[in-house]
Subunit: 250 residues, 2 copies
DNA sequence: CGAACAGTTGAATTCATTCAAATAAAGTGG
DNA sequence: CCACTTTATTTGAATGAATTCAACTGTTCG
């Protein structure tokens, strides 16, 4: 079913450097031991390999430990669209809970490590550890909010604005994980960016060139530097959160 | 906080005609009694009144008993977009779980009745009734899938296709609730439709006129008849599920 | 009845797409 | 390691779908 290679966990969730994403805070030692037991195995994915495909029966949800994945939905007529890009600490496979089958394909954009969380056992444990249940609900709900922001972008913004929003969102998420946030490698192709943003790759390319020309960014292949954050935030139509402190000081 | 009018429940969830949506199947009598206790009150909304606003602290989620509501998100710069239209049996307010504040506005499109479900008590009860917890997770997950389909529509379809998909989706949801599904009243304005579909109202109007001209629909104000279902499904790029049986027979 | 609002239709404009071609990078096999 | 194919990306020019601007019609409501 999966074109993947299974590992047994070499290190536990309780020592996972990404624990702040995977696990709720304020949980006891014995709780953690139980949660560790949930993650029976881990998968190592090569670039292009799929974690699951739409229609596969839901057995697990997944937590990204290292790497980047995309999820995409497809239409009956063969057209398909990238719905999300996923970074370490994010949970995948949640769209399979609704009717027991994943509704999307999840594909690695680079070599990645993913923890497998048996869903039935997880639901059982969540019942016993209230804070885990709450955290799970929060994760599902935030996922909703994410998608709704994406809807707003596709429905109301011009290509240029969508791209700016996308770059800034990516930057913020990298920052939250302790990665460099003003200079990084785009793990997705222009085709995948365009698909995610609802625009053609030629437009993606043109907009990136335009951003570079205006001094907002520097881009060389998939390596990007965000130069003028204020300019980007202005383009995206949102206030620059990095300046929150300064604003409050005024 | 809410510009609403509170009622005490005159009839219980256990006798709610919409129970198949509100409540999981396969639940015991005593479970039902407990669930009844969750719904402490009900709100009656006039057209245009809001059930909650973004930023309001989450205390409850809501189940629509009668009527239609829209949810919308807004951008910092004032632009806003309709994210969803909601029919009886659907749960609202789920986007507030993530960080304790609703992320959207929910506004009645017509006179509506909504059940208030205290969220904390609900989470507690869900822990005690596994099937209720499971049902809740399914609802959240389906919500995700819904939004992702919407994303696909905004990102990959032309205006005409989006409108066809929208009309068919509405029709299916009405059918699932036992309403007339080939002839009904649109509860939303052209502006709201356009906002939801990511197109201008002039385009909505033009496309509707075009559909009528081609004999796909009949429309007079907000009253619509779907005439040529096959044609609409073809436009939407999806197979007509009403013909599933016939296809299987071939 | 008249004002305000909602919806339709036409014409001009624009943003993004499509088509086409060039360039750059990555992979392949000798 | 190099020539060569394949894939990814960029850029230009022509086209097109949807928007914007504008005018008009139909509804609703005080």
């Amino acid at each position: 079913m999966h074109d993947v290679h299974l590992d047994t966990p070499s290190s536990k969730c309780s020592v996972c450097v990404l624990g702040q994403f995977c696990l709720p805070v304020g949980i006891t030692q014995s709780d953690i031991a139980q949660i560790d037991l949930l993650v029976k195995e881990r998968v190592h994915l090569q670039k292009g390999q799929s974690l699951y495909r739409h229609g596969d029966p839901l057995q697990s949800v997944y937590s990204i430990r290292y790497g980047t994945l995309k999820t995409e939905h497809c239409l009956e007529d063969g057209r398909q669209q990238v719905i999300g890009f996923h970074l370490p600490g994010e949970i995948l496979g949640l769209d399979g809970i609704g009717n027991g089958q994943y509704q999307s394909d999840a594909i690695a954009l680079e070599e990645s490590d993913v923890c497998i969380i048996g869903f039935e056992a997880f639901e059982d444990l969540a019942r016993q550890i209230p804070v885990l249940q709450q955290q799970f609900h929060r994760i599902l709900s935030r996922e909703l909010t994410q998608d709704q922001r994406h809807l707003l972008s596709l429905g109301s913004l011009r290509a240029e604005e969508r791209l700016a929003v996308f770059l800034l969102n990516l930057s913020q998420r990298l920052a939250a994980r302790g990665y460099l946030d003003h200079e990084f490698d785009l793990r997705m192709s222009r085709v995948e960016m365009g698909s995610y943003l609802g625009i053609q790759i030629e437009t993606v390319s043109r907009m990136l060139s335009r951003f570079a020309e205006s001094g907002l960014i520097q881009i060389k292949q998939r390596h990007i530097k965000l130069i003028d954050m204020d300019g980007l935030y202005e383009l995206a139509g949102i206030p620059n959160p990095e300046r929150t402190l300064e604003i409050k000081r005024l």
